[in-house]
């Protein structure tokens, strides 16, 4: 109930508050993309004085927000569906891998795509079956709004058809975390956990490590070469009649300076991916 009222209030109030200041660029969507856009937004704000408000809420939520005029820009970590593309422009701003992560204290360091698929279908439920200790596997997934989840399911073929509609094939018993951050916290606190998150947001300080998939390490080099298959684009989307400040910010994201920041943050810039 509370949430519904809050949502209503947000929908009614947000365009008003955003419209009132002309020097603010609003952007919402993928929690994976917001990780890097928050950094870019801050540097942009220091440089030009224009505020950039970044809110991570999941790719699908971001697309809906732009469609309804709640925010100027949207972030997506998956390709848009055809019906989502009407009246919408998209720009690929970077590329990123999807890392399969486990707790650092877990000795396993490689899984095949088939094994990952079976784990998420709960056909494999013990680390012993994939070369680890005799311990249960706690698989963690993202909410359905997540672009990372959508790309993860597409790449691994974790889809099935129910009533002629394509739905997720990830087991209903899998734990669900909403947002990259919460999934990371779950894995850092649970030695049996397995999850998938944006590769750029894996950092060594956390108690989380990225696995090799099919024997190939999850590195940017392997994503360029196409060997590491779990990769997807980072997209910024906007309506065709979007305000000028938003377009200026996109131009900034595509500039060499911003693309350098994207590389420093551990993502793959557009220039790199064209090599």
């Amino acid at each position: 109930m509370k949430k519904v009222i809050g949502l209503l209030a947000a929908i009614v109030l947000s365009p008003l508050s955003f419209a009132s200041s002309e020097t603010t660029v609003t952007i919402a969507g993928s929690t994976s993309v917001s990780h890097v856009l928050e950094v870019l937004g801050e540097t942009y704000q220091k440089k030009t004085g224009i505020d950039v408000e970044v809110q991570g809420m999941g790719s699908s939520a971001g697309i809906v927000a732009v469609k309804n005029g709640i925010t100027m820009l949207g972030m997506s970590s998956r390709e848009l569906a055809i019906d989502e593309l009407t009246d919408m422009n998209t720009t690929v701003i970077a590329h990123d891998g999807i890392a399969i992560v486990i707790n650092k204290s877990n000795p396993v360091d490689n899984l095949s795509r088939e094994e990952i698929k079976k784990i998420y279908r709960q056909e494999i439920t013990n680390w012993k079956e994939v070369g680890g200790e005799d311990k249960p596997i706690i698989a963690v997934t993202r909410d359905v709004s997540s672009g990372t989840r959508e790309e993860f399911e597409k790449i691994l073929g974790l889809k099935r058809i129910v009533n002629n509609i394509e739905v997720s094939d990830i087991s209903q018993r899998t734990l669900v975390g909403n947002g990259n951050g919460m999934v990371k916290t779950l894995v850092a606190n649970n030695i049996y956990a397995l999850a998938y998150i944006s590769l750029g947001s894996v950092d060594n300080e956390l108690l989380v490590k990225a696995l090799s998939v099919d024997g190939i390490e999850a590195t940017n080099e392997h994503i360029f070469s196409g060997d590491y298959k779990l990769a997807r684009p980072f997209i910024v989307l906007y309506k065709k009649n979007v305000a000028q400040p938003a377009l200026d910010f996109i131009n900034y994201i595509m500039s060499d300076e911003a693309q350098k920041i994207i590389e420093d943050q551990g993502y793959i810039s557009i220039a790199q991916s064209h090599n």
């Binding site: 009222i5 709004s145 739905v167 209903q172």
Partner: protein, 301 residues
């Protein structure tokens, strides 16, 4: 002089009556407006929920939606596991939280020495002001790992973790209202019981608590409503798996968590199914309040 003396009180009087009328009318209007805010909000929310949620009931069918076991948007919209999760977590929270709260209320109202009451009461009131996301984080880093160790299970994100967090969250509501209703009792109740030779403890359980029953029931009802409506803390500790939980040591998703996690992006029939989830929640709250009203009424006659 004479004329002046006479006319001044008259004018003053007429002004004051006029003023009184105006002020009276203003406040009358203000009272009505204030009273209507709640009613209008409720009516708007209910209308909104039903107009948005009915398409889902129509397309998926009331039975398939309410008693369906699989939540697979956009194909299947069964929310029965979530109804079970919401009820289980709420009932569990009440079973654990209410006795603790009631004993605390009795302690504060009857037994506690002044200096101790001065520590416990502000602590309880502070508990009410802590944001639910903080409760959630506390649950995630303290209760979830504790459950893993105590029950020797791989993941502590379970219904039990939700129950414990909710039990703590409903404490301030139940304690404060129960204590107030115990304090509101006329002193003759206690004096009479003691004069008849009853012990202090006997008079508390046999006289004071039964006499304050309607207030205590209201406190419990508000506690239940709080537990049923809690969202953020639950999302953080209960694991949110949409499958039917087999026991208290399995993850589950409540009705509120389902709405919160998917509402921001859902479209079409999926969004409608989430509003339908809200309708089910509203129905539960209505049934709960009606039950409390009924119990209190029955007692009054």
């Amino acid at each position: 002089m004479n004329i002046g003396n006479k006319s001044i009180p008259q004018t003053a009087q007429s002004i004051s009556t006029k003023k009184q009328d105006w002020v009276g009318m203003f406040f009358h209007f203000l009272f009505i407006c204030s009273a209507l805010v709640g009613v209008i909000s409720l009516a708007t929310i209910a209308w909104f929920l039903f107009s948005e949620g009915l398409p889902a009931f129509r397309q998926a069918g009331v039975i398939d939606l309410v008693f369906g076991n699989e939540w697979l948007p956009p194909a299947l919209f069964g929310i029965f596991p979530m109804i079970v999760a919401s009820l289980a977590s709420t009932i569990g929270a009440v079973v654990i939280g209410v006795p603790i709260a009631l004993l605390t209320a009795v302690f504060l109202a009857e037994l506690a020495p002044q200096w101790l009451a001065n520590i416990v009461r502000p602590a309880v009131e502070l508990l009410a002001g802590i944001p639910s996301v903080v409760y959630g984080f506390f649950g995630l880093v303290i209760i979830v790992p504790a459950i893993e160790v105590i029950f020797n299970i791989p993941a502590g994100n379970t219904v039990l973790a939700g129950i414990i967090v909710l039990a703590i969250m409903i404490l301030p509501t139940v304690i404060t209202i129960s204590e107030t209703s115990l304090r509101a009792l006329p002193p003759v109740y206690k004096e009479g019981a003691l004069a008849l030779g009853a012990s202090h403890i006997y008079s508390i359980f046999k006289v004071l608590i039964p006499a304050a029953k309607s207030g205590i029931l209201t406190a419990i009802a508000l506690g239940i409503a709080r537990a049923l409506g809690e969202t953020m803390a639950i999302i953080m500790v209960m694991g949110n798996a949409p499958a039917m939980p087999g026991s208290l040591l399995e993850p589950a998703r409540t009705l509120t968590a389902n709405i919160a996690m998917e509402m921001s992006y859902a479209t079409g029939i999926h969004a409608s199914a989430l509003y339908a989830t809200g309708i089910v929640l509203l129905v539960f709250i209505v049934i709960l309040n009606a039950a409390i009203l009924y119990i209190n009424k029955k007692r009054a006659y």
